[in-house]
Symmetry: C2
Subunit: 83 residues, 2 copies
């Protein structure tokens, strides 16, 4: 049986219960990073409501993720070519 | 002067204007990925409001991003060691 953890975190003053295989430490780290990014975006656009803030946080994170994925794939291709 | 693009995208039925150095193609791709992930999370939890949906989308994306970052760093360490 796969162990499933239940971790409660607070993001932008609301609590979320995350259920999954991830460790408590991983979920808490992720929540902190998301909360920090939301605060950062809020600081530069104080008129945004919480949905907009969360969507912009998701966009920002997705953008970094897609760029890192491209870099990762380039690196794998380089390694493959050097073999 | 750095060129700044203004791209309007729709996510979960609301429009967002994204201003930045990223190309229109990149911003549209990112918006589509975020919108798809929100829809996917909505399908498994239809009682969630839009803020919760967007926060869970950000958490999910951040989690994938942090894991990829770790893999990327491990790969760089491996390359460094082989030199």
């Amino acid at each position: 049986m796969t162990e499933r953890n239940k971790v409660t975190v607070t993001i932008n003053k609301r609590t979320y219960t995350i259920v999954g295989k991830e460790s408590r430490e991983h979920v808490e780290l992720i929540a902190r990073l998301v909360d920090d990014k939301m605060k950062e975006i809020y600081e530069s656009n104080k008129h945004l409501d919480s949905t907009m803030l969360a969507v912009l946080t998701a966009i920002n994170t997705m953008s970094e993720h897609v760029k890192l994925k491209e870099e990762f794939e380039e690196l794998l291709t380089l390694i493959e070519e050097e073999k």
